[in-house]
Amino acid sequence: MIHTLAEGLLGRLSLDYLPTEPATIGAAVGLPLSALAIVAALTYFKKWRWLWDNWLTSLDAKKIGVMYIAVAIAMLLRGLADALMLRAHTAQAVGDNSGLFTTDTFQQVFSAHGTIMIFFVAMGLMFGLINVALPLMLGARDVAFPFLNSVSFWLFAAGMILINTSLVIGGFSNGGWLGYPPLTGLEYNPGPGVDYWIWSLQIAGIGSLLSGINFTVTILKKRARGMTLMKMPIFAWSVLVSMVLVMLAFPLLTVSLGLLSLDRLMGMHFFTSDFGGNPMMYINLIWAWGHPEVYILILPAFGIFSEVVATFARKALFGYRTMVAALIAIMFFSFIVWQHHFFTMGAGANVNAFFGIMTMVIAIPTGVKIFNWLFTMYKGKIRFDAPMVWFLCFVVTFTLGGVTGVMMAVPAIDFQVHNSMFLVAHFHNTIIGGVVFGFLAGITYWFPKIFGFRLHDRLGKYSAYAWQIGFILAFMPLYALGLMGAVRRIDHYDDPSWQPFFIVSAVGVLVIMLGVGLFILQLAVSIWKRKELRDTTGDPWNGRTLEWSVPSPAPEYNFAIEPDVTHRDEWWYRKESKLALPKKSSYQDIWVPKNSGLGIGIAVFAGLFGFAMIWHIWWLGFVAFLVVVALIVFRTYADEPERRISAEHLYHLDKGRKQ
């Protein structure tokens, strides 16, 4: 009786799922303790009100962006800790030495590492930077749907909390970041780990999908007057292309994860080995999302570098039109290459050759972009501030990653390196070199616009150097290991001649951690010295685009007067032609959305729904689902409360600033 009652109330949740290994117990205790410490600090310093009013419920895109970035940096630390665990383990686990962790922990750690880095670091940094910069660059006051934006962020946060909850109870998936069935099916993996993976991604993924719609509409509808598509800053173009990919690809992630969870929850047979199921279908579906996902992440990074190079070379971007053409070409091709992730599944020579050639074709527009960046530098006047140093590291690292990518695009070569450490090195080469360097450059670049002071330049450069050297140490040995026959995801090997390579790689991870440490030190030192680093002009880099036309930190409404755009690099043009100050009559009232806690509410219950599905607590799932529906219905019919900022007030603010 009690047993069934407990099962009814708690599903399969029980104390048996608490971690047992020292390393995992440490995480399980440490995580709630640090959460508790934060809560206590907020309570002690009486900051709850401030946090709630100024941040958590804010619908200001810039603040939502900052929250995205804060969460992503926290998750970067978690993902890096995972990476260090992996490499510390493989540095030792040779022959009779079984390494630091059990196989099960090791497999959970690499699955978590990949999942967290892609979904909660790279995606988080991307959406953060888009929120921070995109509306400003478009000359817009806000995104198209401010409330939806908050919902997206909080769903992302809910997914993040769910994935970290697995550390405390239940453990994580051991099936890798894309969780191929049948390994992740019920038969081989009945526990809650895979469900944590599914539901944290499902919830965060829906948030990303909504963001995709939101930013696409923002770009199509909220551009300043006169800003035609071909006058948009290239970053906005890269975001547009990336968001179209989000809208086309993320539904397929929803489907893949949804069907896998139906297999697991309802005993269906989509991807089981028996009853007619077909695991290959899953692999196709998830990569039909997964490959565009790579470009979803890299394209905005390309956009950031395009802005950075133009700004610091003090020259307009070279070949704007070809850059746009290249972006569109990449968008198109990224959808017809997914099969290259499994040339070795035996699809046949024609299919493999087709997808291989399509994959190589993507290298063409990518190469064009690199040359355009280089010729933006040509006959420029280049300043090497930290964002530009990130750019240099990017070109070096990303180009090499591109080369190994082209190699792997040849099916006959891929047959010899697929799923080896060579592959691991390759995708880190593009993702760290492209995505991570790009987003770190973006943070450095736009930081003054949000906070009103620059980041400490020298520490930023040191961080870039450490990342670059750490990258070489961590991943070049993996290329060699791959060619030696070391496959990915192994927690143990017999050949002692591999060990030096693994040790160097582990040292590389430490150097990357130093790079992250320097980045955080840079933040701390900059806050400390914020008076010296203050950006009084609103235009610290001698920028070209509209975000630099407003004061730093940018006001919540972005623009006191909605700008009229006549040129591609509008702000540069205005500076060159020394336009007059606006008259008082050009100021009008602005309506900004009031804060809303509903986004948090929806995410809390969506998260509870996920938790209920993981632990089979059906009543909770049912209630949480109903509450989410009720909240959405409520929001649909509630008036959207807005707050007026008077024209008078705006005029005086601007006057005070310009004199």
Partner: protein, 292 residues
Amino acid sequence: MKTRGVLILAVVLAAIGALGWWLLRDATLDVLQPAGNIAEQQRSLLIVASVLSAIVVVPVFTLLIVFSVRYREGNKKAIYDPNLTHDARLEALWWGIPIAIIGVLGVITWQTSHSLDPYKRIASSNETMNIEVVALQWKWLFLYPHQRVATVDKLIIPVDVPVEFSLTSDAPMSAFWIPSLGSQIYTMNGMTSKLNLIATEPGSYRGYNTNINGKGYASMDFMVEAVDKKTFVDWHGELAKSSNGLDWTTYKQLSKPSTLDSPKEYALHNTSLMHAIEMKFMPEHAMNGEIE
């Protein structure tokens, strides 16, 4: 200041180079030291692709360095031309060159996708030999139906004889790879994939599972012995007479999840074992219960 920067860069590069040399000085890179015809062609392909890529990479790195130095803000002698924002001829050049390179590589890709297709039989004066491979949790079972022998975690093949592997899985998806011989292929439940390889040099090589299939995944490596024909014939002739036989009952024991400390050898009593293993996952049999 400037010279110090260059100096530091040179020292870092030299250190990384030295470290690389020290690591690689007597490492065995299986993929680059092939012992079979397929792997050899794949190595050549890897080299061709690297050289073709270098046509783009070398100019990129050169221009990056030259432009960074020449057009730095401090260089007062350099020309500053903010209006140089496009040039149709230049842009045509860097659309054209990559297109040409990818064109060449595309043709090579098309050809090699066919010539090195794992399903394609290898032409040889020797007759192709069949070996059946079953991925288990967590060991490899090799069945030699014609020789009536079977091994676990140890593959013995004759030199210069093309081998056609038929592979399936009685475990989550796994993948079969012998880097010294070339090409890997996935193995899946209820399905047969094929892989054609040949060893041209006698020796021992390592094989691996490259796709995670559970806890014992990392220990799913195995030894491959490429031996001369006589040794091979003697070996299977002797083994086929062994009292240690493999049939459905012993198979069911063997297929339970476990890792092995040392390889096993059997006389193969049931030559349609592979078929039976595949049929385990077929729907009709799933309905009617197990076949014996």
